[in-house]
Amino acid sequence: MTRWSMVIDLEKCVACQGCSVACRMENNTPVIEPEQAELGRSIRWNDVFPMPVNPTEETGEYPTVRTEYMTRPCMHCENPPCVKVCPVQATFKDEEGLVRQNYDRCIGCRFCTVACPYGVRYFNWYKPEWEEGMEQYHNPDKIESGGVSEGPAVRPKGVVEKCTYCVHRLHKARARAEAEERDFRADEYVPACVQTCTGKARFFGDLDDPESTVSTLSTSSRAFHLLEDVGTHPKTTYLGEG
């Protein structure tokens, strides 16, 4: 059994926001106007925060000022609160531990958005829009069949979307391995943010394989999870600074 997991090394992160941009391009996230963003309607499956988030707080006195950043994809919890509250099973945890979202079934009640302690779920308040001509550069990958629409498929208005660890890449890698009549290897699949990471601060792999990079790194003394005390058991692990 595989359990996909991500490790983010904050020591190596240079806060270039490349993961955020790669995620946008890969998953066809809509862009919105600044007034809309002020209402908190921007959609960032992978967000980059300055730490502390509140900019009025100062960290250290000049010249010993510190700036810390934290990148945040979906935690893909082992015990996801969003899955439990969805009344239509539009969001679900698949057998490989990915928490996915079916846009075709979502009724837009936003219970998952309220339930998620990490705030990684985003609601489409309006129909997604892009600048003139941008539509032709959309990622054509998507997971679509009767009543199922996932991944980078362009979302209709009024549904919730979220980071899927680029699950369409997993499907593609599996299909390629099958077409070439060989076994699928875990290192054939990485999400776009991991692939693009400038500082090589992100690692991705199978947590059930004790030899994998993520398994070794998540036993590090620097490893921690976000909101460990709420019992969600996130699979996205951070390696703290220093």
């Binding site: 309607r41 539009a90 009724i107 009640c109 219970f111 958005t113 308040w125 309006y126 208005k157 919730v160």
Partner: protein, 172 residues
């Protein structure tokens, strides 16, 4: 038909057939409010829920508050009707009917709030086809449906004709 004495007719029956100018003015104002609400809802349906001013972290707004409020109103109706029936207060009858009517109709208004709040109201039936009983929204659906069935049964009994006495339950 109801039999009403002549001295009561002027007070009870006549106002049903005549309307004052104040009534029409009030009706016009209320219709204007209703029309505005319908216009806004059509806006919300065609453009998206962004029209409501909700965002992050205000994922749920006045709609959900209204839902809870109207469920509360509905419970108040049940409570008043139940207390008056249990204590057998003889002056209770008109109040009990009103309370039972409030129970049923406040519940309808409350449930509508959730449907208005949904991003894709046309997929409402998914909650029954693919329902997940662990979700509190499904508890809402189950409990509110049961409560609604109970309250309209009760209400229809109160306002129907008693077969034995051939009188309206409303006045017995």
């Amino acid at each position: 038909m109801l039999k009403v004495e002549a001295r009561d007719k002027a007070k009870l029956i006549d106002p049903l057939y005549t309307s004052t100018r104040g009534f029409w003015m009030l009706l016009a104002v209320l219709l204007a409010v209703l029309g505005w609400a319908v216009y806004m809802y059509i806006q919300q349906l065609t453009l998206g829920l962004g029209q409501t001013g909700m965002g992050r972290p205000v994922y749920w707004g006045v709609y959900m508050v209204n839902f809870i409020f109207f469920i509360g109103i509905s419970h108040a109706g049940t409570l008043i009707s139940a207390i008056l029936r249990v204590t057998g207060a003889e002056w209770r009858r008109p109040i009990t009917r009103v309370a039972e009517a409030i129970t049923a109709f406040a519940l309808i208004v409350g449930t509508l709030q959730i449907i208005i709040d949904m991003g894709r109201p046309e997929r409402l039936l998914n909650a029954i086809i693919y329902g997940r009983l662990q979700s509190p929204i499904l508890w809402d659906i189950v409990s509110v449906t049961a409560y609604f069935m109970g309250s309209i049964t009760y209400f229809s009994h109160s306002t129907s004709i008693n077969q034995k006495t051939q009188k309206n339950n409303l006045f017995t």
